[in-house]
């Protein structure tokens, strides 16, 4: 399974729908997408992970890198995830304290802080 990415803009927010596996092989594709968006001036990102089948530490590193980039522009990077097996990895690494994690894309878009 490869990594599928699609983006759409909702006002000043950009939603990135991610599907498939985020691992050491596919993570560069996600990194490139996040970097491109920031370079285009999109600093408020919502990463929808509901269709992600697999996430490892390489993927976490890319998300952390994305967060770092948007924070440099006073932006935000929010996650949408309800899958327990994915949430577990965020908990193990303590990253639930770093990323705002929402249950729906609508909630993530509506969130202001």
């Amino acid at each position: 399974m490869d990594l599928n990415l699609s983006t759409r803009h909702e006002g000043d927010r950009t939603v990135i729908e991610v599907g498939g596996e985020i691992d050491v092989y596919t993570a560069p594709k996600l990194r490139e997408q996040l970097v491109d968006l920031v370079n285009q001036g999109r600093y408020h990102l919502v990463v929808d992970m509901e269709a992600v089948d697999f996430l490892d530490s390489t993927g976490l590193g890319v998300l952390v890198g994305g967060l770092k980039r948007v924070r440099a522009h006073d932006g935000s990077l929010r996650l949408v995830c309800t899958q327990e097996r994915i949430l577990k990895i965020f908990r193990i690494t303590g990253l639930t304290k770093v990323f705002p994690i929402h249950t729906t894309v609508e909630d993530a878009i509506a969130a202001t802080d």
Binding site: D56, S57, V64, K68, T93
Partner: protein, 184 residues
């Protein structure tokens, strides 16, 4: 993928029955096919092969009798260990294969991921330092925890041993087998 493997000719992905020290070498023993015969993967340190290693590990774990609820853990843990080894090899020993040994024991499904590079955090050029720069908020401010792969492994796997030697490192992991061999 072939059973034969020459030490001086690295194939992209090579699986063979038997152990690193030649256990089970030669013709596969059909009587041992259901267990007790380790499977060894040797693959070039390329990111695309990590997924294959994960798939093989989960397939063997399932057949060995590892509980279904633990298969995601096997998948993630083997992926993390292999990603780490691939990262180490790509930076210091790109011509040397990563070796994964999967052992279907009687009470435990064991996995060893062997790298030929001495220990230390895996370089991740793009994201290097990203977690640390987030400070204590992320829990990655300590150098020892800066390798997220190891942090995931330590948080995920109860039966885990990380050994670093002068010639490389070995990550050993294990999961209980709930279906004894004698009833299969």
């Amino acid at each position: 993928m072939t059973g034969a493997h020459a030490a001086d000719s690295l194939t992209p992905l090579d699986a063979e029955p038997g152990g690193l020290a030649g256990q089970g070498g030669g013709k596969p023993d059909s009587k041992q096919a259901g267990g007790g015969a380790p499977v060894v993967l040797r693959f070039a340190p390329l990111p695309e092969h990590v997924r294959t290693a994960r798939l093989v590990a989960v397939a063997l774990a399932r057949r060995a009798g590892v509980e279904d609820g633990l298969l995601d853990e096997v998948r993630l843990a083997v992926g993390e260990a292999c990603s780490r080894a691939v990262g180490l090899h790509r930076s210091a020993a790109p011509a040397v294969p990563v070796v994964v040994r999967l052992d279907d024991g009687r009470e435990r499904f064991g996995v060893e991921v062997v790298d030929a590079v001495s220990g230390g955090p895996v370089p991740k050029p793009e994201e290097e330092g990203a977690a640390e720069q987030l400070g204590s908020e992320s829990g990655f401010s300590d150098d020892a925890d800066s390798d997220m792969g190891l942090a995931v492994l330590r948080g995920l796997v109860d039966d885990l041993e990380v050994e670093v030697t002068a010639s490389g490192g070995v990550i050993r992991m294990g999961w209980p087998v709930i279906t004894p061999h004698w009833v299969r």
